[in-house]
Amino acid sequence: MNDTTKVARQAASAPVEAALLPAVDVIEDTGGITLYADLPGVPREKLNLHVEADTLTIEGEIAIPVPEGMEPTHVEVALPRYRRAFTLSKELDAGKVSAELNHGVLKLRIPKAEHAQPRRIQVAVG
């Protein structure tokens, strides 16, 4: 009971900032999952990836140098950050996630755990 109130309070004291939902592609092959996310305007140092329990969160802040005194006249990208979370399944090895950020595209590779790799099962004929 105590734990629940703690969690609720924490959530209330740290309001989550509004963020854009980046477009992603998720492709699964026998060895694992590859995720591509469009994060234009996010430099490497403003990208934040974290895995907590079985939730993978991608967060990035847009950092674009803007000339002084610029007035926006037409805005399609209206928020300065992206955020998206995914629930990982337990056959994925969250400890071996590799990430690359290139021209505003994040590529994440999440391999499947050893025990979840496909195996051919021999059928014994007896």
């Binding site: 854009l20 939902l21 477009a23 992603v24 592609d25 998720v26 492709i27 699964e28 092959d29 026998t30 999952i33 591509y36 469009d38 994060l39 234009p40 305007g41 996010v42 430099p43 950092a63 674009i64 803007v66 000339p67 002084e68 005194g69 610029m70 007035e71 926006p72 006249t73 037409h74 805005v75 399609e76 990208v77 209206a78 290139n102 021209h103 505003g104 595209v105």
Partner: protein, 144 residues
């Protein structure tokens, strides 16, 4: 061909994507030339007394293949984004990212100088800076 499930595995992601598209379609003042398919690339425009600044959010493109042109006061950004090659026997669970050819057209204000344009591609954002003509910039006139 990779296998694509008939129904989206994650219904909430699909709803979020829809909401994002609706927001993009209604929340902003729509241009007469409309939005690019799938909102790609999104463009933000700003202005300063000396220049017009365009930010094209076009991630994952080889800058050498980007085509930026100005003709009769109309700026065109065109290019192509190739789809990531999917490995054999892969299944595509989410497929939201744009791929294919794109073109976006923006009318520049009258005082834009097509001879003074700078374009830079960084972190997936193409920043085009068009200077305003010197004659159109505010000037203080000294009274004799």
């Amino acid at each position: 061909m990779p296998y694509r499930p008939l129904f989206a595995r994650d219904v909430f992601a699909e709803m979020d994507r829809l909401q994002r598209e609706m927001l993009q379609a209604f929340d902003i003042s729509p241009s007469i030339r409309g939005l690019a398919r799938g909102g790609y690339p999104a463009i933000n425009v700003g202005s300063t007394p000396k220049s017009i600044e365009l930010y094209t959010f076009a991630p994952g493109i080889d800058p050498a293949t980007l085509d930026v042109q100005i003709e009769k006061g109309v700026l065109t950004v065109a290019g192509e984004r190739k789809a990531e090659p999917a490995p054999e026997k892969a299944s595509v669970h989410i497929d939201e990212r744009f791929s294919g050819r794109f073109r976006r057209v923006v009318t520049l204000p009258e005082d834009a100088d097509p001879g003074a344009v700078e374009a830079r591609y960084r972190d997936g954002v193409l920043h085009i800076s068009v200077a305003r003509k010197a004659s159109a910039q505010p000037r203080r006139i000294t009274v004799q």
